[in-house]
């Protein structure tokens, strides 16, 4: 039986493997979804083929899931490492080069306001609310 961390490590190994071999899977796609993908490939240039489109989408979902699970696992062992919602929002503002990065007070308040009504809010929800509050007062 693999532990949760062993599962994460194994998924990461597989995602990083330089493996160009392919497999015919038994995964069943809804016909309409397959047809929509084929049309998008042909007319919207979203990917060179439906296979690469499906593989890229699957990879992206897996990578995000692993990153999120890794963070949650890390927080369980090191609860003090978990950034607050305001800290994540502030980090996003800094990455965006947003003027809000210089207003931690505003972001702290926005995080508190948003969390009071939406416990599952994320950092972008906080930034949007903070920006709206700032616009309303100028």
């Amino acid at each position: 039986m693999m532990t949760a961390l062993e599962v994460l490590d194994r998924i990461n190994e597989l995602l990083d493997a330089e493996d160009s071999s392919t497999v015919n899977t038994s995964m069943r796609l809804p016909t309409a979804l397959r047809d929509a993908a084929a049309l998008a490939v042909e007319h919207l240039a979203v990917a060179p083929s439906t296979t690469t489109l499906a593989a890229a989408a699957l990879r992206s979902v897996l990578e995000t899931a692993v990153m999120e699970a890794a963070l949650q696992a890390h927080y369980r062992v090191h609860p003090e490492a978990r950034p607050s919602l305001a800290e994540v929002a502030l980090a996003l503002a800094a990455q965006d080069g947003s003027p809000l990065a210089g207003r931690p007070d505003l972001i702290e308040q926005a995080a508190a306001d948003v969390l009071a009504r939406h416990p599952d809010a994320d950092g972008d929800d906080v930034l949007l609310w903070a920006e709206a509050q700032q616009a309303a007062t100028t």
């Binding site: 692993v66 890794a70 890390h74 490492a81 978990r82 800094a94 990455q95 950092g123």
Partner: protein, 136 residues
């Protein structure tokens, strides 16, 4: 696509939960996950010369946080080495910062964000590419 690039101290801080800037570096990575969940293309990367300077061996069990968070290596191949060599000659920054600058200059992403404790050298190494510097 946005690339979030870690410098030496960011790597050190991420790898050590006891580091006084650990949470400061975890917050931007949590932000990467936030944006990815919303469908944005974002990756966290570390130039391999930076990882060398930070003394972080991925096969060491203590490197697990960097491995599990998918902070991906950008290797110093021939083209990047040539560019980094020019950066060292032109600016006098460290080899690790030159590799970081070469990564920033050649990034195909629309946006490069560098988590660093040394904004001045990062900006010098990355020019003429505009990077968003986030001081840790």
């Amino acid at each position: 696509m946005r690339a979030v690039v870690l410098d030496n101290e960011a790597v050190q801080a991420l790898a050590s939960p006891d580091h006084d800037k650990h949470r400061v570096v975890v917050a931007p990575l949590a932000g990467v996950v936030t944006r990815r969940r919303r469908g944005a293309g974002m990756v966290a990367v570390v130039p391999t010369a930076v990882r060398v300077e930070a003394g972080r061996d991925r096969s060491d069990p203590r490197a697990a946080p960097i491995n599990r968070f998918r902070v991906l290596d950008v290797a110093l191949d021939t083209d990047l080495a040539n560019r980094a060599a020019r950066i060292v000659t032109g600016t006098g920054v460290s080899i690790a910062d030159a590799h970081l600058g070469a990564v920033a200059q050649t990034s195909t992403g629309s946006d490069v964000v560098v988590l660093t404790s040394d904004p001045r050298d990062v900006v010098r190494a990355s020019e003429p590419r505009n990077v968003t510097v986030v001081r840790i």
